[in-house]
Symmetry: C2
Subunit: 190 residues, 2 copies
DNA sequence: CAAATAACTTAAGGTACCTTAAGAGGGTGT
DNA sequence: ACACCCTCTTAAGGTACCTTAAGTTATTTG
């Protein structure tokens, strides 16, 4: 059951048998039905999540009530409201399951304990954060330089599996356009 | 001369005397005149930079020749084309000095060596990457939910010093709007 | 210090994308 | 099996922001 999360970690660091036991003792597995809110804005963001199976979405609701999708996480992705998890601030975003999902969660105290007792994880999370950072930076670049249509095609090319698992409305809110406009963009093709 | 970069590091990790010596032996100080291109697209991105004084700007030029500012870095910031530095890919972005600047550069081999010989730096760069990631994520959120005018005010509020050091045109290209439109936004006030 | 160059502004006309509305199709729950 | 709700689509009218152009003020350069 922990195979997938352990091989995710093994992509970047090698754990001894004892270190593996420490790690697995600090994470908790959970299965959550579809459309469950795992985190709500203004709540304390207590966990970092690894998606074993299923799909999650984090989104922001602005002062006008408009929803913007921050990120999707399908199998083998990590997700949470990172700023609030790391800085002990109330969450700014919502996190919900798109479909029934099995996740592993690490609480903040356990996250700190993990980094203390197995410092190798500093390296693991450095690489995770590095990748997340460069991915977000690329997204900013695309938002600044591409049209809505180009961003849609880039999204589908980059994340074909996610494009299949989520609704058009959710993709539109990730791209920063209305579902109506996405619909007109998609019409010409096929 | 290395005081500022060392106290930047001391914000997150404590170095012994020997570790400090290792670190300073791996970085090189440079003073660069204004408007110097430190990195160009398609070049190999060989260095990570810390800004001791002055100001740098990284930008992207898209297929239509339009320039988008990725980030500014003033005193005490780290900057490079992170994706290309870490993944040994040709640079996607340009990096230039806005004014005469003193920087410290770390080459890729020295960066790897630093992480190997002083593993504490894994923690330092984890925190650096974490902060960069959450900052970019907030920028994506603002790009998706705020109007151009709101983004401009948010930028000035968040980075008052940068707003003073760079041109309006550069701010416009960071916000994803034209200088002409920024000008009309600024007119009503004062 | 002049001359060139770049930054900033103003304004008119244009376009990418939004808002509102309404209808068709597909799940979901009772 | 019906009603309900949500997604997706289409279309008409609206707006935020762009393009082009031209003038003014800084800043750089010879």
């Amino acid at each position: 059951m922990t195979d997938r999360i352990l091989s995710n970690i093994a992509k970047h660091i090698q754990l001894s048998e004892e270190e593996t036991i420490v790690f697995t003792s600090l994470v908790v597995r959970k299965t959550v039905t579809k459309k469950t809110l795992i985190l709500q804005a203004d709540e304390d963001c207590r966990y970092l999540y690894y998606v074993h199976s299923g799909a999650l979405r984090s989104y922001y609701i602005d002062k006008d009530g408009k929803e913007s999708t921050i990120m999707f996480a399908i199998a083998d992705w990590w997700i949470t409201d990172m700023y609030c998890f790391l800085n002990r601030k109330p969450a700014m975003t919502y996190l919900e399951t798109i479909e029934e999902s099995t996740i592993f969660q690490i609480s903040r105290p356990n996250f700190d304990l993990l980094l203390e007792t197995v410092p190798k994880f500093e390296r693991f999370f450095r690489i995770l954060m590095q990748n997340a950072y460069t991915r977000e930076q690329l997204r900013v670049m695309e938002n600044l330089s591409l049209t809505a249509e180009e961003r849609y095609h880039s999204f589908v090319r980059k994340y074909p599996q996610i494009a299949r698992q989520v609704t058009k409305k959710q993709i539109a809110s990730y791209l920063g356009i209305t579902p109506e406009f996405l619909s007109t963009l998609r019409k010409p093709e096929i």
